[in-house]
Symmetry: C2
């Protein structure tokens, strides 16, 4: 079963790390307990909508960006999104035949 | 403050109504209490990830579709997405000048 909280947790952690912030910094700025934020990031606790809004604000990331990223990740898990398993023909044409996987 | 649960509730209700199903049908199929599902749809209760997965399955809608729709709606609320306030030029060219708002 796909659990939204696990994806939300990973997305929040990824954005936090991209921004080079510590759990402590974000928890403090969002006024949530550090242990709680840590559990949310690990997908162990559901974040309430209020907490999610506070954490998003503390990260300077719009909630919509977080939710869309969550949707994108879940679509991969659901197998609804496929990735090309070969190099597309037009990319080969553009880059040329010297492109190879060594 | 933008509350994710309100958008999730509206999206779930919209999908349910699009599919012409009653609250009772979806609640029964998802094995959740009818009153609880009603509160979730009205944005009054947070749905746990497990409930969300069950309701999505009962609606035959991928969770990713729900979360992306939630992200899209929130982006409008956040003012991150704008809609054209005039008919785009290329649409006018395609449809012709007989298109007008009467």
């Amino acid at each position: 079963m796909i659990l939204v909280r696990q994806e939300i947790g990973e997305v929040l952690r990824d954005f936090r790390q991209q921004k080079g912030r510590t759990l402590r910094q974000v928890a403090s700025r969002a006024s949530v307990a550090l242990g709680y934020l840590s559990e949310v990031e690990r997908g162990q606790k559901e974040a309430s909508s209020e907490i999610l809004a506070s954490v998003a604000e503390a990260l300077d990331v719009p909630i919509s960006t977080i939710m869309r990223e969550v949707g994108d990740r879940i679509s991969v898990l659901e197998g609804l999104q496929t990735f090309p398993d070969v190099v597309p023909d037009d990319l080969v044409a553009e880059v040329g035949p010297e492109l190879s996987f060594r």
